[in-house]
């Protein structure tokens, strides 16, 4: 090491509180921090006295990119926010733009978006639980769950063309309709999911080691959770049933029959169980939606945002110009602002968008649940053990793309 390297962070505690405590740096490259997060912890033996959580290592300038691209071109960027459940980001963003434009999506699109949002929720919770279990040493459970997740990835690739980040939502609809046999394969995957998850439940739920490591660890009270802005499974694990799908239904959630699982103690075990139960509820919802799916077009017939068919673009001058304008200038979204929030697997994912009437946004801001939960992380980590940092952090499900944008 010839040249000294600059330190990008400044810790709030440079000197230890007591003379026998130690300040330890965990991260930013660490196997169990789910990406790049740095935790500077002051330890008294194994007990954590205080922590300073540093996120921001994956800040990729999403909001600055937004001011330079058309509303359509941002859909791939939006995918990569919460990259484990990319479809939810797509649909929340498109929903916001559609509200600004005053567009109502078609019934088939509405049901499909609901089905795919729940599918993404499955993938996200599977990944979170799998990674959390692996970090505690339960490698088998990780392998089972990632196997199911791989089936889902291939299935979504058959629909959208990509496994992880799909860019499938469009303003006013979706990229393409379901291929033949997609719903039949969906049912097969759900049956396999139930089989694999039953095995994980059998391995883990009443396992002494598992319970000892998670029960009573990483506790947060409802009042603290609300004060620190927690939403989603973290808030629900404390016992408060706040879920945007029930409280302020959007898409097709008002027509579905489902429960909102809540925990009792706000600890890691509750968060694990809330996620497992939410996955079961998602499967139930997807089965209902597969029955309820109506026929019809998936894109709204509005030339302000929907691309005309290629046959017409090659034959009619109006369609050609329409296509050209949509690609080069972007859809003209009327001036105004909107805050559109969906219930993402992590919590309330909100898009605050400001338009000045042109085809590129003036500002897009993401209210990301992971970022806010990082603020609550210190509250959950302080006072615990060093070894508890890993499962607690895993149960928060911090996704770097969403946290740092």
């Amino acid at each position: 090491m010839d040249t000294p390297l600059a330190n990008p962070v400044r810790s709030i505690f440079a000197t230890p509180l007591r003379e026998d405590s130690v300040i330890v740096n965990i991260g930013p490259s660490h196997p169990a921090t789910h990406g790049t997060v740095q935790i500077i912890a002051e330890l008294d033996g194994e007990r954590v006295l205080r922590t300073d959580v540093h996120c921001g290592y994956l800040h990729r300038g999403f909001e600055k990119e937004c001011e330079d691209h058309t509303w359509h071109n941002l859909i791939p960027y939006v995918d990569r926010l919460n990259y484990v459940s990319a479809l939810v980001n797509d649909f929340a963003y498109c929903d916001g733009v559609e509200r600004l434009m005053g567009i109502e999506i078609t019934p088939r699109c509405r049901y499909l978006r609901t089905l795919l949002s729940e599918y993404s929720r499955l993938v996200d919770h599977l990944t979170c639980v799998a990674a959390g279990l692996m970090e505690m040493g339960a490698m088998t459970a990780f392998l089972y769950l990632v196997m199911v997740r791989d089936f889902m990835y291939e299935h979504l690739a058959a629909l959208t063309g990509a496994r992880v980040t799909y860019s499938y939502g469009r303003i006013g609809g979706l990229a393409c309709d379901l291929p033949d046999g997609w719903l039949a394969r969906l049912e097969e995957i759900l049956v396999q999911y139930e089989d694999f998850v039953a095995r994980v439940h059998a391995l883990v739920d009443r396992n002494r080691i598992f319970i000892d490591r998670l029960r009573g660890v990483g506790v947060i009270s409802t009042a603290d959770a609300l004060s620190f802005g927690c939403t989603g499974p973290i808030l629900r694990s404390t016992g408060l049933a706040r879920d945007l799908r029930k409280d302020a239904p959007y898409l097709a959630y008002a027509e579905l029959d489902f429960d909102v699982p809540v925990g009792i103690a706000g600890d890691n075990y509750d968060r694990y169980f809330v996620r497992m139960r939410e996955m079961d509820e998602s499967v139930y919802m997807m089965r209902q939606l597969a029955q309820m799916l109506p026929e019809g077009p998936i894109n709204v017939d509005d030339r302000r945002c929907t691309f005309p068919e290629k046959q017409r673009v090659y034959r009619e001058i109006e369609s050609l110009i329409n296509h050209f304008k949509l690609v080069m200038d972007g859809p003209s979204v009327p001036a105004g602002e909107v805050y559109c929030a969906h219930e993402a697997p992590n919590g309330e994912l909100g898009f605050y968008m400001v338009s000045t009437g042109s085809g590129t946004p003036w500002k897009v801001h993401v209210r990301s649940p992971s970022f806010v939960h990082m603020g609550a992380a210190s509250r959950m980590l302080d006072g615990g053990q060093l070894a508890d940092i890993v499962p607690t952090f895993g149960s928060i499900n911090m996704i770097g793309g969403e946290c740092d944008r």
């Binding site: 330190n7 300038g61 990569r80 196997m147 791989d150 980040t165």
Partner: protein
């Protein structure tokens, strides 16, 4: 039979041992991490290639897999980790963000990890399919197999 035959075989043996026992250090940052998990999982299984166990310490690893976007803020950490690895070491840039910065061209994204560390194999894709990753690892293995060892050949 000249001495070259024996040193050639020795070099081949050393390369064979190195390429089938890659101890990888996955420097995971972003979305490509999901595909990295899939590659390590049973369906695509990178363990077949000897790259079984990720070594989460750079001192024990010889393959640095840079998975996902590298931002300016991560630069010092990545450089420090690269410098802590011992020779022989290789670097694979997994994903288009690690290769060239991807579609993030702004104040915070480094335009490719090769701005601060030398990269042996670039695996494009956003994120790359697991088959592409396996192809990239196999290309790295071919590169290792072609490596020359002047110290070996000159000593004997």
């Amino acid at each position: 039979m000249g001495l070259d035959f024996y040193t050639g075989k020795l070099a081949d043996a050393v390369n064979w041992a190195r390429k089938f026992s890659l101890f990888s250090y996955p420097f995971v940052t972003a979305c490509c991490g999901m595909e990295y998990m899939s590659v390590a999982a049973p369906k695509y299984d990178i363990a077949r290639f000897g790259a079984e166990f990720p070594r989460f310490s750079p001192r024990q690893a010889d393959l640095l897999i840079i998975v996902g976007t590298i931002t300016e803020r991560q630069g010092p950490a990545l450089r420090r980790i690269y410098e802590q690895m011992c020779e022989p070491k290789w670097v694979v840039a997994f994903g288009v963000c690690a290769s060239t910065g991807g579609f993030y061209q702004n104040y915070s994204t480094m335009p490719g990890a090769d701005q601060i560390v030398p990269v042996d194999v670039y695996i494009p894709g956003c994120p790359p399919r697991p088959e592409m990753v396996i192809d990239g690892i196999m290309q790295l293995q071919d590169k290792i197999a072609r490596a020359k060892h002047p110290i070996l050949t000159k000593t004997f």
